[in-house]
Symmetry: C2
Subunit: 586 residues, 2 copies
């Protein structure tokens, strides 16, 4: 902890010199990615807090760290003795950062590294601050936090029989969109959008196969700023320049006219650069909506990869529930990873696996570790949320496995979770429906009992890209994006009872057309995840006839999908595990 | 139809003279009211279309009328031979007005009466139009459409035992809100907001007990612009000025500082006036959210009035289904009105009653007339959607009455409608839930069959005010407003089959708290409408056990509420009509 205090002291000296009263350090990289490379871990360096979300504010005398409910316990421990005050987000009795900025002295200047703060966040800081004064051209941490080398992975070019659409065609669509919106060019800093557009993949962020880069596209040319700019891989006509040159380029007279940029993902310093010779036009990256709709080639690969991934998880469940061997959370996660590794197309996890036994399941973003080994016992619930990056798709799946005797409370939660998931899976909905319209379906059984799960029901999923992507989502609020054929969405209700247990069941669904009638076009979900739901967890007696039919249909359909790939012994086990009578699901 | 063509010809001459390429005529009055006084019926005059929603765009050579799904059939008929093209809103194959404006010639100027177009709509027109040129200071229809006299009804002052909160307290709350939002004053043009704030009611719009007025409130004074400004009724300290002086006043130096205005309900010409000496600040009228939450006094009166209104409708249904006498749509509507008139607190209808027999029921906002009398026969469905303005509340209720034999299609639609309504009524939901989250519940039985109803599921309801009010609603889209205890919402799914039948069932619900748990605060609906659902319409055999229980519970609860006010003969009839076994619902 003395180390942290020493670092903060040096930072305060730099702040003093620069005439900065408060300094803001987010978790974000320069691209506002959800997961970041070590190169960007400045917030961790100055606070000691290792969580994946949170931001630090250092003033002359104080320091504050904001983080969300997932990390309250961890942050309290990690901040101990640092002198940094933990500010719990969305919790009564704690100020937000805007509230804190509002209370600053009249002439207080707020500093930050302009590469790490989006144009829209900078605007809201300016609005909150009494002085309205921001200083962000300089990185005051530069001489204190010695960054590791900037990552520069070998770039992979996706062939068209994997990508389904050439980069040239994608760029053509992008330019069409620019024209329709009276823009002359676009600046993109979101890494998954760049990877999708150019059909390239990299390894610059663990679990996220992206390339650290900026992209500028005008009506004639495409500039890709990445690595040292020397790579000679074919980029479909893109001019390759060094990563570090992006800012200078965006200030140059090559950038002109009306330049579209997403203020939520483009850093303020780039917006300022663009203003030098051009007019920034705010709007979403059209690439986000483009890449959300999977093309037929992607869908074909996804269908295949999800079945293989389902088989891996199903075989892991068999191991776990039938072998005499004792597992820990970690060894179980390893055993599942070993099953995935048997698949030719497998590359790496799509996010750090959550393997949470018993009360650990109640910690929503729990990560098992070797330091605190937990044995998976022969009772209660074991939740495993994991996924893989494959050539041909990104997977994400959660099953909660019944390890033995359950309490009535556990069984009820398990049943309501599974039925909520299946209700979404079986929904038929009119064109124009958004995830806000469907969310209630997954929650209503809990709400009727005064219970709720504190996370969204579903998120978009990338194709050989980030496991979380937009714009669609299934949530109570802020999910107005229409669900369109070709979109993927996760379907993952759950229930968490602190100190007792957690349960979550997650499938990935594909939106497809159901029918067209005089009343409109109707959509439904095509299921991609075929993993049985543990029969012993279902409270069959409390289910209605319709619920029972829905559950049994899913189990039988799952058996039918898996059977061609299972040995007779495996299938016999599956029938029992899934609660299917002999002769069914064949 | 020649009349319409003649009027359009004169308008085009005026347009030509004013250098206007296209002229826009909305349904709106100067206050963006849903229903308007005859003084404002310019769109109807120039198009012949009598529906309550829609807008006309006249260019040199063409004319377009946009309206929504409720009016497609009616508009087609009414526009026949006028040369005006019907543009179906939200329908594939039809351009929106913005699309149409985008395709206009490069220098085309759009004209309209600046009193009838809100600041935000004017902005979106400007954006869509290639030239960006608007001309709105002049009313080009002035010499063609000779307006009737501006209405000026006697103003009624609501006593506090009816209003539940004094105008002084309401204005105090409003000023509090202004302070919190750094505003110095507010300009309000919404008539129901003004009526609510000052606890005044009028008769300037049929069915909507409002006073034609503008309001300006700063930190010290309140100005009410209405009539000739000479009325001497007590306005809780408001200075009364003539209606016609509002625009001049808003341009004066009395209007200064930061002035809050709702760009969706304040006309562009007023925003411009305010800019003369003050800075307009855009935001919703806080009064909208204030008045949506009914206070305990209002709720007490509402509960009583809704029961009385339910009794009137129930008695009307008994007349209709048991008397030998033959009814027409009009005579039935009159008989219902006669039942309402027996209630001491009754004043006038809250909207023109929809009494639609057989295929007429498929016309969503059908209005019966003496010109086209339709006899209510002893078969099929008869839909009655009506409501009243009472001292103590505004009601709105729809029942579809089974007149005899039904087709299987009619019975299925009737059943799905009733169950959708009851599903919403029985929902339990977390604080933060919006109408977008609940809408699916009412539609899912239809969507599963490829069917849909082309209107929202629910709207807010005023208290002795407009039958439709915001901000809350139950809809697929654009209904993100949180449902809060004290809010009223209608619950009215339906199904409409052109040329065959229509069915709709509507109750009014009050949001109230259900329970508080560790997972949050949960709400539910308290039912206000106690009218039985025709038992003969329900397809009991196709209903699940849970659906059956839900339906029967509502019927019995209804009988229990009505019984103290019914004669033994009436109650015996009710039991049969509602399908309640003797001895139940007592």
């Amino acid at each position: 902890m003395e180390e942290i205090q020493e670092r903060l002291k040096k930072l305060r000296q730099a702040m003093h010199k620069a005439g900065v009263y408060a300094y803001y350090i987010p978790t974000a990289d320069f691209h506002h990615s959800e997961y970041v490379n070590d190169y960007f871990k400045v917030r961790e360096f100055f606070s000691g807090f290792t969580g994946s979300a949170g931001y630090l504010l250092v003033t002359e005398k104080e320091a504050f760290l904001w983080t969300d409910g997932r990390y309250f316990i961890q942050a309290e421990k990690e901040l101990e003795g640092s002198g940094i005050r933990l500010c719990k987000m969305d919790t009564e009795g704690y100020d937000s950062i805007e509230d804190t900025l509002k209370k600053m002295p009249k002439d207080a200047v707020l500093g930050f590294d302009g590469r790490t703060v989006s144009a829209s966040l900078a605007k809201s800081f300016k609005k909150a601050l009494p002085s309205g004064k921001l200083k962000y051209k300089e990185d005051l941490t530069e001489k204190i936090f010695l960054r590791p080398k900037l990552p520069q992975s070998v770039i992979e070019n996706l062939p068209e029989d994997i990508a389904g659409e050439s980069a040239v065609d994608k760029i053509g669509r992008l330019r069409e969109h620019l024209k329709e919106n009276w823009a002359d060019a676009i600046f993109i800093s979101r890494l998954d959008d760049i990877a999708w557009l150019l059909n390239i993949r990299g390894r610059d962020i663990p679990c996220n196969p992206v390339v650290l880069a900026y992209l500028y596209v005008d009506m004639e040319k495409t500039w890709l700023f990445t690595g040292d700019g020397k790579t000679d891989i074919a980029y479909h006509g893109a001019l390759v320049r060094p990563y570090q040159e992006a800012l200078r380029f965006m200030k140059s007279s090559s950038v002109k006219g009306r330049v579209l940029l997403d203020p939520g993902s483009v850093s303020v310093i780039f917006e300022k650069a663009i203003k030098k010779h051009a007019k920034p036009v705010h709007g979403k990256n059209p690439t986000e909506a483009f890449k959300a709709v999977k093309n037929p080639v992607e869908i074909r690969h996804l269908t295949d990869i999800f079945l293989k991934d389902s088989l891996a998880l199903t075989r892991f469940i068999r191991q776990l529930t039938t072998q005499d061997k004792s597992f820990t959370e970690m060894s179980a996660a390893d055993a599942l990873e070993a099953e995935r590794k048997k698949i030719r197309e497998y590359r790496e996890p799509s996010f750090p696996a959550i393997a949470a036994y018993g009360p650990n399941g109640a910690i929503i973003h729990y990560e098992p570790s070797h330091e605190h080994e937990t044995t998976v016992e022969r009772k209660g619930l074991f939740m495993v949320d994991s996924g893989g990056q494959y050539l041909g798709g990104t997977t994400d799946v959660t099953r909660t496995i019944v390890m033995g005797e359950l309490t009535p409370e556990e069984k009820q939660a398990f049943t309501d979770t599974a039925l909520g998931m299946l209700d979404i899976l079986n929904a038929v909905f009119l064109k124009g429906t958004s995830g806000m319209n469907l969310d209630f379906l997954a929650r209503r059984r809990f709400w009727n009992k005064g219970m709720d799960y504190k996370h969204g029901t579903g998120h978009g999923v990338g194709y050989m890209l980030n496991v979380h992507e937009g714009p669609q989502a299934i949530r109570m609020r802020k999910a107005e994006e229409e669900l369109k054929p070709g979109m993927l969405v996760s379907d993952e209700p759950g229930l968490y009872r602190e100190g007792r247990f957690g349960v979550r069941t997650e499938n990935i669904l594909l939106v497809e057309e159901a029918q067209r009638t005089g009343d409109g076009v109707f959509y439904r979900f095509k299921n991609l995840t075929w993993v049985p739901i543990d029969h012993k967890g279902m409270d069959l007696e409390k289910m209605s006839r319709e619920e029972l039919a829905m559950y049994e249909a899913y189990q039988k359909e799952t058996a039918r999908h898996l059977r061609p790939h299972l040995s007779p012994e495996e299938f016999a086990w599956l029938q029992e595990y899934a609660g299917i009578a002999a002769g069914e699901g064949e």
